[in-house]
């Protein structure tokens, strides 16, 4: 069984030979901070220039030899750039949406000011006046086409295409988190119109990419965070009424054009939204944030395991950064039989690996995944 078959089998809720392993195929959240990646390479006695795959997350493209070493079954087809080209500035603009990002001391970035954030009560006129990016300014289909074709030839891994983050995340980038939340009640017209505009742009952008990818993609994945640590960011009712219908259009558009599975990355406690995720056509749920409320393996598998394949679950808050290698092995050993029962599970850390995770712990996670992942 090759890697792609292993992944597809798991996604179709059948038990493969072992639990498939992901590392870096979704640069938004299953990858590794570039500085941490450089530390890993040094630890392994390797020297090379890292490539940046996701500027906002400052995550690396994980190279094929590293994926081989850790028995990884997935690979991203998102275009990347050399680190020297980005150079990790203290601040930068996410040009297409005019959002300012600042660097933290650990070389992660956070959005600090969006174009609608300083406006007290933005109007539909403000939305109209904004110079929205075109789909090809957001993604270059030719670069994607070339990379997807090349990687399909180079490896037998399942190919993952990371699409633009979704409508809630972008609305928060552009309006600030608090502005976004307040608008849901106090400026509903603008809130709905912003979500609708973002959904429309997202669909157009994905539509320009899908023909370029053709058969060279197995999973279409995008992130849209709906969870805080202890509950969803908005009420399940409001999600159902105002966000889910737009997402259904977004996902329906993909499904009409490709056989690829659709995976949603959404952090935090999203247990209460799972019925809607299933209803709008999501196939795979990531990252099963281990320390978030109601996201433990037993609970999630029972609630979502039949309809959704699950992806992630290995704790990056406590176990990976602070635990011993033995703790990491125990974490993997405990979760695999629960999440992996009957297939339907891809193992990965529950977020990007940052500089505080010792390389030994990361390696222990991959070794344990192979050891305990056999069906």
């Amino acid at each position: 069984m090759d890697s792609r078959e292993r992944v597809l089998s798991a996604l179709n809720h059948m038990e493969p030979d072992r639990v498939p392993i992901d590392f870096g195929s979704f640069s938004g959240a299953t990858s590794m901070n570039v500085s941490a990646y450089k530390n890993l390479l040094t630890h392994l006695g390797m020297e090379r220039e890292a490539r940046v795959e996701n500027l906002l997350m400052f995550t690396a493209e994980i190279d094929n030899d590293i994926l081989d070493m850790f028995h990884v079954d997935t690979k991203s087809i998102k275009p990347s750039i050399p680190l020297a080209e980005f150079n990790a500035p203290e601040e930068f603009m996410y040009e297409q949406f005019q959002v300012k990002w600042l660097r933290s001391t650990d070389f992660t970035y956070a959005p600090v000011e969006g174009p609608f954030q300083k406006i007290a009560n933005p109007t539909l006129e403000d939305l109209k006046k904004f110079r929205w990016p075109t789909p090809t300014e957001l993604e270059d289909p030719e670069k994607w086409r070339e990379k997807a074709q090349r990687i399909r030839q180079e490896t037998d891994r399942a190919l993952v295409a990371r699409m633009l983050p979704g409508i809630v995340t972008h609305a928060q980038f552009m309006r600030g988190f608090q502005g976004w939340a307040a608008d849901l009640y106090l400026n509903r017209k603008f809130s709905d119109a912003l979500h609708e505009k973002l959904a429309e742009l997202w669909i157009e952008t994905v539509n320009t990419l899908l023909p370029a990818l053709g058969e060279n993609v197995d999973i279409i994945m995008f992130g849209d965070d709906f969870g805080l640590q202890d509950q969803p960011m908005l009420s399940p009712r409001m999600f159902h009424d105002r966000i889910a219908p737009l997402m259904k259009q977004m996902i329906g558009g993909i499904k009409a054009k490709t056989k690829a599975k659709v995976a949603l990355h959404t952090c935090g406690s999203v247990y209460d939204l799972i019925d809607d995720f299933i209803e709008i056509g999501i196939d795979v749920l990531n990252p099963l944030q281990a320390t978030a409320k109601n996201m433990g393996p037993e609970k999630i598998k029972e609630k979502a395991g039949k309809a959704l394949a699950l992806w992630g679950g290995i704790d990056t808050h406590v176990v990976l950064p602070k635990g011993t290698q033995q703790d990491v092995r125990e974490e993997v050993k405990r979760k695999i039989p629960i999440l992996g029962e009957g297939g339907g599970y891809i193992l990965s850390a529950d977020h990007n690996i940052l500089v505080d995770v010792p390389p030994e712990n990361l390696i222990a996670m991959f070794e344990a995944a192979v050891e305990y992942g056999r069906y």
């Binding site: 992660t108 307040a182 849901l184 805080l228 640590q229 202890d230 960011m233 990056t316 940052l354």
Partner: protein, 212 residues
């Protein structure tokens, strides 16, 4: 006369304009500012926080309630100040150096204000020297530190050490929070309290200041 329950209702419903308007009318009708604060604003924000803790309401509902409370409070403030009525106490808040996340901290700030505290919010990416300086100058009873990243959490310990070195540790209670933070970590670094979410932070603050 405006019934205090109407003000509470406007806040619960997240209607800033109504909350402000009703508060103004209550004062015009002869209500005392400290009565509106103590019998409407503080208890209703306490209820809102508890509902959030029980997942009966979510972030947006709590935010708009806090915004409504803030607008009502702004009407009361000049009167409270002119009458020399002191609040529950003073709190300094900030996200530690190197960390740019502030959603949780901002919410804690609003609920602290809803609990009657005066809040000095130092924002994100705050160096320990800044905490020391502001605490020395303002003499708050409470310091709230926030970190979202596992990699910036250790800065919390450094702030506490800096306060010890400067002889300021005894005069201020320190509470910490943020997704990766635990009670165990709070104990380890010698913080006075830990709160897993914003409403518990407000409750913890009241407990620590003995204003239950």
């Amino acid at each position: 006369m405006v019934n205090l329950s109407e003000i509470k209702e406007a806040i619960t419903q997240g209607k800033p304009d109504d909350a402000k308007d009703l508060t103004q009318r209550a004062l015009r009708g002869g209500r005392e500012a400290d009565q509106v604060l103590n019998e409407a604003l503080i208890p209703v924000m306490n209820e809102v926080g508890e509902k959030f803790g029980r997942n009966e309401i979510f972030f947006p509902e709590m935010l708009v309630a806090a915004m409504a409370m803030k607008d009502a409070l702004a009407v009361l403030k000049p009167i409270l100040v002119s009458k020399g009525i002191k609040g529950t106490g003073k709190a300094v808040l900030g996200t530690v150096q190197g960390d740019l996340h502030d959603i949780g901290k901002n919410l804690v700030g609003m609920l602290f204000e809803g609990a009657g505290l005066e809040v000095i919010d130092l924002g994100i990416d705050t160096p320990k020297e800044e905490f020391v300086k502001v605490i020395r100058e303002n003499g708050p009873q409470l310091l709230g530190l926030s970190a979202l990243l596992t990699t910036t959490m250790p800065r919390m310990r450094e702030v506490i050490s800096a306060l010890e070195q400067e002889g300021l540790r005894e005069q201020v209670k320190v509470i910490i929070g943020g997704a990766p933070v635990t009670q165990e970590y709070a104990d380890e670094i010698g913080a006075d309290g830990y709160a897993p979410d914003a409403p518990s932070a407000a409750k913890k603050a009241r407990d620590l200041l003995g204003v239950g």
